[in-house]
């Protein structure tokens, strides 16, 4: 354990803890734009800087490990001034179209400017002006809004392992893009949308058919139904309609999703979606109850078993089921029905 003093309070934390980790344990709010605990800290946004006694410059709390007897000030005048100036610099190069920006209400830059009382940059000068890339079917990239935190780049390379995104250009002209500066759809992007999830501002946004504000929606935590991994998602619900999906920090997905989980929610509100079982009666599919449908399945199985023997029956399970569901399925076939003819679509 390492003894440190944060804002005059003596505390102890395990060795290798960063200042930011310690502050979060203590519920001290440190603003961060580029920090994501799942990837290596890059310390690019510099918003998380804190004052450490004896050190010449302010230190980024996200990548500075605590050291014995360190004296840390997280909200001194010097720190607050620096954070304000960094926010001013960021908004000086940002469209500030919050009135129509889809991200409003969920934008870290907006939140921090509110928290630190930064109304305007005070700088007049060059601003980024890039064309919007809407080549991907699921999301758009508006690099004029990008604040260069680099989260999308790191998540794409370190977590998704696709390495689609990288930094292009240098200095003030630096931007994020795919190799050879092509539109994103010409790259090998798999549209997992994890870059969308980690963008702290509105630079990468889902192509939404619905208009909604963050304060209008209710989040409903659920498990993604597409496969057996069990990713946790938050359905964004407005007026009883699912309008979007946020990746949630579940034990199996840690905030990551795939293209289906992130963007494939349209079926939920689709008019063609089956909500009740259909039974073919006299050549016509007729809506029925679940009880009736189960009874029909059971009676058909029993009948076939009696007439043709048990090995004429096979069960075929889906990859959309979880491990537990697949286990129960094979148990139903082996122990309940009495056949070993059971398989699973992921084997094909």
């Amino acid at each position: 354990m390492v003894k440190i003093t944060i804002n005059g309070v003596k505390v102890e934390f395990p060795k290798k803890f960063t200042i930011l980790q310690a502050c979060r344990e203590l519920k001290i709010d440190i603003p961060t734009l580029c920090y994501d605990e799942r990837v290596k800290p890059q310390s690019t946004c510099r918003l998380c800087v804190v004052e450490v006694e004896g050190m010449r410059n302010l230190r980024p709390s996200c990548s500075t490990q605590i050291d014995e007897d360190m004296k840390i000030y997280t909200h001194s005048d010097r720190v607050i001034e620096a954070r304000k100036e960094i926010l001013r610099l960021l908004i000086a190069n940002h469209p500030l179209d919050c009135l129509t920006c889809e991200k409003a209400g969920d934008c870290k830059l907006q939140d921090y400017c509110y928290e630190y009382d930064v109304k305007e940059s005070g700088f007049v000068g060059a601003k980024k002006n890039y064309l919007i890339d809407d080549s991907n079917p699921f999301y758009i990239r508006d690099m004029s809004k990008c604040i260069m935190c680099g989260n999308c780049v790191r998540v794409c390379s370190e977590l998704q392992g696709k390495n689609i995104l990288g930094l292009i250009g240098r200095g003030f002209e630096t931007t994020v893009g795919a190799g050879f500066e092509t539109q994103i759809d010409y790259s090998a992007c798999v549209s997992c949308g994890n870059c969308v999830s980690v963008c702290p501002v509105g630079a990468i946004m889902p192509k939404s058919k619905e208009k909604f504000r963050r304060w209008e929606i209710e989040k409903v935590r659920t498990t993604c139904s597409y496969c057996g991994v069990g990713c946790q998602i938050d359905l964004l619900v407005k007026d009883d309609k699912v309008v979007g999906v946020d990746a949630a920090d579940g034990p199996s997905n840690e905030g990551l999703l795939c293209v289906k989980g992130k963007f494939g929610f349209d079926f939920i509100n689709h008019p063609d979606r089956l909500k009740k079982p259909l039974i073919r009666k006299k050549g016509e599919l007729v809506e029925s109850t679940w009880e009736e449908a189960y009874d029909l399945i059971a009676s058909k199985i029993n009948e076939t078993k009696k007439r043709h023997g048990v090995d004429t029956i096979a069960g075929f399970a889906s990859a959309r089921c979880s491990n537990e569901e697949n286990y129960l399925f094979q148990k139903l076939f082996r122990a309940g029905i009495g056949t070993n003819n059971v398989d699973h679509c992921a084997r094909l």
Partner: protein, 596 residues
């Protein structure tokens, strides 16, 4: 070499090469053959003499006659008069060695006398493309000594005790750095040389590599032995083709001689060096960005700690030293700690090479003991300011440094004293400014450089330097407002305080130092719409005074037709058209044209 009576040494540095040295050498060799002296005179390419202002440079031995500004048209005269007839060509002699009726040796000239050449000792003396000449000047003796007589701990100890500090500008004790890497654990350890010299106007490292490449290779092998590493990389910018070529030759020759490779001096020690070429990014001179670049990543700095000595190239313990730092190593090993400590100051022993540039008579390279006064460097060695102008300031440390005024000319140059003055040692560029330089514009010039060279990784450097530049441009074009000065200073301190790497942390120095010493110039721009140095175009105006003779010479030189007037009558300048080139002022025979 039997029968050779004369040697002609030619500076083979990049500056003389770009002054058509090759063409001149070809002509000289042809003429020597023509007059039948081919067996008696040998023409030898050497490294940089440091007198770049005087190039192309020729020295004829055994007389030691030093010719400067030699042109192709002078060759016949030198060959016939000097080499054939034995008569010195007076008109081509380097003026610094010509006294009243007497020609002194180069070493007694003012420019050389105050210098102490350790790093540059072989530059201009040996042929850098011939390993035998390096060996003849005690080359590779230090490597032999360490491998056969010393333990690696002893080597680290000698360097530590010598007090040698990093010559790349930071001044970190070299021995301490080596000891960290020596103690750190790793399957492989790496020895890197930073030859990505990028400061505007600095060319110390280039001259060492062009003039004495083996001194760096030998030192890297010594460092490898000291820390327990067997692989070295020299990261050199691709814009130094001559240095690259000479390094390639030197590495090849060292391998042939068994001075690189396996089992060097039968000691069981293996070491090899490879080159890695930079692609022109200034930031790759920053150690972690350099390492990222060698690894094949985008050249961007990484968080420190961990420091490279613990976790560097490919996560292994790595030492990274500058070219000039390495060039000291073998002599410290051979001549000892006491000798090295007798030069320079207590805290910073040894010498530092500076590249003198800007408004100074002797542009070139000088090597002086640390602790020498700025006045001696600029006036005694550098020959002062040309054209009778007044010294105004000197910028040290390139874009990371600051301006030092005439009030501080007697400060003894050292890492600490320069930082106290708001500048830094940097890699050793020294740009001298005279009364015609506008200090706001100087700050703008350096900011322009850092804005171009910022890697774009962290917010304050990427966004902040650009805003500083925009404010400076606003001021120098006469659009500055009072609050701009406040914004400028506030930005400068935040960028310094919060940037990720040395580039951003030092980028505001040119602004802060000029704001500190020349605040009145900033204020004159902002509040009086006036550039006191008469440099900023938008703030100056050219007038024709009332007693114009109407010679109309100015009309003929004005490139934009801004001057009008009838012959023998008063002329006028249309300020809307005038581009402030100053041609009219130069040509006016009656000094009637005034710049205000």
């Amino acid at each position: 070499m039997d029968g050779i009576k004369s040697y002609v040494l030619i500076c083979g540095g990049a500056n003389c090469t770009s002054a058509h040295k090759d063409e001149i050498v070809k002509k000289m060799k042809g003429k020597i053959k023509e007059v039948g002296l081919k067996t008696e005179v040998q023409v030898l390419p050497k490294g940089c003499f440091g007198l770049c202002e005087e190039g192309p440079i020729f020295v004829v031995y055994p007389e030691g006659v030093f010719y400067s500004h030699v042109q192709a048209s002078d060759i016949n005269e030198i060959v016939v008069e000097h080499l054939l007839n034995g008569r010195i060509v007076d008109r081509l002699l380097y003026k610094g060695i010509v006294g009243k009726n007497i020609v002194t040796s180069l070493n007694d000239s003012k420019i050389y006398k105050k210098q102490t050449r350790i790093v540059l000792k072989n530059c201009g003396v040996i042929n850098p493309e011939n390993i035998d000449e390096y060996i003849a000047y005690d080359g590779y003796m230090a490597l032999g000594k360490v491998l056969t007589e010393m333990t690696s701990e002893e080597v680290v100890e000698v360097i530590r005790k010598s007090g040698l500090r990093g010559r790349g500008g930071g001044g970190f004790p070299t021995g301490l750095k080596w000891s960290f890497a020596a103690k750190a654990e790793g399957k492989q350890k790496y020895v890197l040389c930073n030859a990505d010299e990028g400061d505007p106007g600095a060319f110390m490292d280039r001259s060492v590599l062009e003039g004495d490449p083996h001194s760096v290779i030998e030192a890297m092998a010594i460092a490898g032995y000291a820390i327990g590493g067997s692989q070295g990389y020299i990261y050199i910018r691709a814009e130094y083709p001559l240095a690259i070529k000479r390094l390639e030759i030197a590495i090849e020759q060292a391998r042939e001689y068994g001075l690189l490779g396996e089992n060097i001096f039968d000691s069981g020690f293996n070491f090899d060096v490879e080159l890695r070429l930079g692609a022109g990014a200034f930031i790759c001179g920053e150690e972690t960005a350099l390492i990222a670049s060698i690894e094949g990543e985008r050249g961007m700095p990484r968080n420190k700690p961990p420091f490279p000595a613990i976790k560097g190239l490919w996560g292994m313990p790595t030492i990274l030293n500058n070219v000039e730092t390495y060039a000291n190593i073998s002599q410290i090993i051979l001549k000892g700690v006491d000798w090295f400590r007798s030069i320079g100051t207590e805290k910073s022993p040894g010498t530092k090479v500076f590249a003198l540039g800007g408004k100074i008579s002797n542009t070139g390279l000088v090597e002086i003991p640390i602790g020498t006064k700025l006045r001696e460097i600029i006036f005694d060695i550098g020959g002062g300011i040309p054209n009778g102008k007044e010294f105004k300031a000197v910028q040290t440390g390139g874009p990371s440094g600051g301006c030092i005024t005439s009030d501080h000319l007697d400060v003894e140059i050292d890492y600490e004293t320069l930082i106290e003055l708001g500048s830094m040692m940097g890699s050793g560029g020294m740009i001298v400014m005279d009364e015609d330089n506008c200090m706001v514009d100087i700050a703008r010039f350096f900011l322009d450089f850092t804005v171009d060279e910022s890697c774009g990784k962290c917010t304050p450097c990427r966004e902040g330097t650009k805003r500083m530049l925009e404010i400076l441009e606003k001021i120098t074009t006469g659009n500055g407002e009072a609050e701009d000065l406040v914004k400028l200073e506030r930005l400068a301190y935040v960028i310094k305080d919060t940037s990720l790497c040395g580039l951003g942390q030092t980028a505001p120095n040119p602004v802060l130092s000029t704001l500190k010493y020349y605040e009145d110039e900033y204020k004159a721009h902002v509040f009086e719409n006036r550039c006191p140095a008469g440099y900023c175009h938008e703030l100056i105006q050219y007038f024709v005074a009332d007693d114009c003779k109407g010679c109309s010479k100015c009309v003929s030189v004005c490139p934009v037709g801004a001057i009008s007037g009838v012959i023998k009558q008063q002329h006028t300048i249309d300020d809307d058209k005038c581009i402030k080139c100053g041609e009219c002022l130069e040509i006016c025979p009656f000094d009637i044209i005034i710049k205000k």
